[in-house]
Amino acid sequence: MAATRLVWKGRTSSTFLRVSYLSRDLARRNHNAASLSEYTDVPEYPEILDENREARKRRKTEAWHQKITGLPTLEQKLMELNMPKYYGYWSCRLHDAKPTLQGTPFTRYATRTHVVEGLPEGYHEKEAAGALAKELKDSVEELILLNFQSTLSRRNFGLGRAIEKRQTQNFLLGLHKILASSLAPSAEHLKDAVVDIRPRVEAFWFLGGLQPDNLLKKKRRNFKYMKDKEHDPMERSIQAESSPCLCVRTSLGLPEVVSREDSLATSAPVPVENLDPRAYGFKFKHKHATIVTGFWPGEKKEHSQLWLHSREFEEKFGLEFGLHNVHNALIQKMIISSFSQAFAHATYQGFGPVTELTYPIVHQSAISDGQKWNFSLYQMNTCVLHSENATENPYNNILWLSPEQNLFEAVEESGVKGLNEEVLTSLIAMYLKKGIIRENASPYLAPYKYLAGHNAPEEYREEFQNYLRDLLSGRPRKLLKPEMYLWEKIYKKDNNTRPYESPRRFFEDHFNQMNPEKRRLDEYSPIYIPKACRKDKKQKHKPRLDSENLYKYD
């Protein structure tokens, strides 16, 4: 695209375009007749594109989504997802251990989940599990006595909920050890299963179809092209965090519960709660888009068998909002944790907030405090919820939640009273569920999947990985996002009471004005390389961050 070089000489009334003699030749070359090989019998017209503002914006975002989908490795996708925002996204925080009073309908809308009471029939093998439960009954009773009859240690680890969480974690870990060791002979997949203790699981996605807030409506009202689209829905970014006690990982993913074309997965009712998330009690925070699974990329065991959660949040929630609302909080917790876990796993397979799934992902979880148990099953059929996909999605996700059951009635001096074998059976059945091999499990990842197999130089890969790891750690930057102080808003921005002061701040009109919101991750000054350290004497700076080539010279 060699355009003619335009040379303006001064701004007088008789200004005219002067074309330099060098670029005249280039211009002539473009205007010659095309070569014969470019002609075809049937004319191939380019696609007629809608040129209005909305359509152009759409094409731009879709091109970005296609770029992410086309990147070969997981790390590059995560980096490109973070590329538009140097200081991070201002996202709605959904924390599973901090449910809000009004939040349950919104979480169902935000994750497009349909909640079904009771586990599905026929998914787990109950008979085999029942037989094994009888054998393990004694060792489980011993474990309960150990954990709940007397204090394990005289030291107090924290206060209140922390004590309960630690106690639950110890019990669940002990339970896993018993079950895994005794079930391993009968279940191949458990022989080399891996356990994560308190893994950090986070998910990030874009949610569309939300009602615009006052700031956005004001902005649209004052902008010529968006005046009549003032009340159009908007998109927000959501960052969910899950805090499980344990994760049991195996090498094969669980099979689907219902087919993806089943009516439960395509047209189950999902509430439309599209108010501002702050109206439901959720807060916003600046953070980079972190999608973390609890294991490093490159792990062989990248599918989860079972997730175990603790329920220490229920006590505080019950005291604050009443015991009759605790069930809602439990549903909220299970939805957020199951979705973020399934979503993180989906991303590590190459799907993500802009790449739709090709097969459903199923996760099993159980939440308990030792005595009270709830089991749940989550089938994720869709992970793309941006723009109109939040409401007009062909698929929806499903959560099956069992009613509350007690593992034992009481623990006394004599022993455990009323051990419920059904709970043990359900848990063992979850362990025994075998995964299936999926062909083409990661259609959007290259065969080498992760950065380690990329063909860029090793130092590029190392630095890229380190930078991404720092981004995903959630640590704040050393130099925080520039902030407009209240006095500046009053005396400079809203009312100009200081007209004679030089405009040097980032929000003021001058040559160096920059909007920190629009700063991209690759908008930084590359580091200078002193002459002695250079490989190529002409390359004075390090290459710039680039999602396709990891690092690229300007």
């Binding site: 009073l101 009004q102 108010l275 009690g281 009443g322 009312n495």
Partner: protein, 173 residues
């Protein structure tokens, strides 16, 4: 003893400019450790039910309350006086607008106020009524027209008795 230490202060601004207007005109005793719990009968506060600035869930009601009221005060106020069941109260203080004064052009800040979002039980719903319905608008327009006409008449008839000021209207031919 200094009276100001026993009784709670009014919201006087530190820089000494005009005092903020309280919703309560009473001074309540400041709590000291060991005091019995303050029980207020016939509280002097009022709570203003307002239309939500941003859309809220169906069981949330928005109030403007006195800056001196706490979440517990708001909850007890509604439950004890009006018998309205309250699940949860969220409050925050909103800063008043900063505007230019019409006379002088200097900056003037309106008073801060506290906003409370009261969540009723999930079974209850509340919708702020439409105070300016379309049907009444025509009536209002007619009334405004009448006022305009009266104004015009006044203007035309103003100069009628100018040449005989002070004399009553029934005097003369």
């Amino acid at each position: 003893m200094n009276k100001s230490k026993i009784f709670s202060h009014t919201n006087a601004t530190p820089c000494g400019s005009r005092q903020q207007v309280n919703m309560s005109t009473r001074w309540y005793p400041l709590y000291r450790r060991g005091n019995p719990q303050l029980r207020v009968f016939l509280p002097n506060f009022y709570m203003k039910l307002i239309k939500p600035r941003d859309p809220q869930p169906k069981n949330v009601v928005q109030f403007e309350v006195s800056m001196q009221m706490t979440k517990f005060d708001i909850k007890n106020y509604l439950e004890k006086i009006y018998n309205v069941p309250v699940e949860n109260v969220v409050t925050h203080v909103r800063m008043g607008q900063v505007n230019r004064s019409k006379f002088g052009g200097y900056l003037v800040k309106e008073d801060d106020f506290k906003v409370a979002y009261v969540s009723l039980p999930a079974t209850e719903t509340f919708e702020f009524p439409d105070l300016f319905p379309e049907e009444k608008k025509n009536e209002e327009d007619k009334q405004m027209e009448q006022i305009e006409n009266l104004k015009k008449d006044w203007e035309t008839n103003k100069g009628r008795d100018k040449h005989r000021q002070g004399a009553p209207s029934w005097l003369g031919l």
